[in-house]
Amino acid sequence: MFLGLYNYWIVVVLMMIGFYIVIAHGNLIKKLVGLTIFQTSVFIFYISMAKVNGGTAPIVGDGIEIYSNPLPHVLILTAIVVGIATTALGLALTVRIKEAYGSIEEEEIQKKDNSTC
């Protein structure tokens, strides 16, 4: 009877995979990959909410009565492009951290920070 909720469960599983990578790994690039997976799970959440049974893509045509909800599509469409832009910013920061510290491991960076001050 709860089978109709499976889309949310897939989202939750994906989200938790991303979350685990973010908190369990010390490597900054891996953290960013985890964030990207997390992000995709949110996209899937929105898009699967927009789906209507028997509906079609929200492009008006003759003889079509049911459309998917266009609003989540709009939000996610822009979110994807914003997501890649912010991920790029994060990667840029990582590259600078590598140049400054010689490492992208969280613990080594912290060790260096502590020893300098």
Binding site: Y8, V12, I47, N69, L71, I80, A85
Partner: protein, 306 residues
Amino acid sequence: MLSGIYGLLSASFFVAMDAVDVAFTEASVGAGISTLLMFLAITMTERRDHSVRHKPWLALIVVVVTGALLIYGTLDMPYFGSADAPIHVHVAPRYINDSMQEIGVINLVTSVLGSYRAFDTFGEVVVIFTAGVGVLALLSVSRRPENDAKIDALNVSMHEQHLILRIVIKILIPFILLFALYVQFHGDYGPGGGFQAGVIFAAAVILYSMLFGLSTARRVINQPLTQFIAALGVLLYGSVGVVSLLNGGNFFDYNVLSDDPVAGQHLGILLIEAGVGLTVASVMIIIFFNFQGRKEYGQGQAKGDV
């Protein structure tokens, strides 16, 4: 590579969910550019991962508990695909039923993106622009001529190997650019729009610079001009709003742009999509060029030290 497949997979998932516009974006962003940026960043930092996972069991417990709570929360959610879910009864019917009279654009996603929620989209374009500025501030390197010569020599030796690829890509690039323009201006009638077109356009430029070397691409694409265009896109978008304000309407109220409200809407959407496309394309190019430039700069430095 895996992340490219992941992007492609989620794109096909979005097609299955009837979200063609979103799928389009994800296919060009997820399968192309994001994978590429990840590669670049990884080669610039460390290939091998020698991290010690701190307290993986604790993390696992936290994750499992959070996941269980979230799944418990979903038990109250509306079923997948049900038409009477709260999300479908609030503003969506207005968009679906009235937008043909009010806006006259067949693709509902475009009309919601460009007109009903133009303010949101403006904010998002500004975020993208800001991210571009941030990458520029973090990674841009002042170029020195002696380094350039070294990098050029490196590039020539590297790129002579890919003769077939280069010829094929040379033929393909005009079509990719043309396709980007088609996507840009066809957004009113089918899936497409400024965001997708910008990314596809940038992908063509990135392909070119990957195969012919950054310094060649820099000669074709003027960097200061790209930065100017990024700002110009945001300016164009914003000024459409200001013009409608000056004409007596609300901010981003395109009805006042022309005598006929529907024609005004068309004009407004066309202009803001153009603004979006310009900004997205040039920001993506800026991001890639700066990553690549930083990498080659690092290689040049390393060679100089030896």
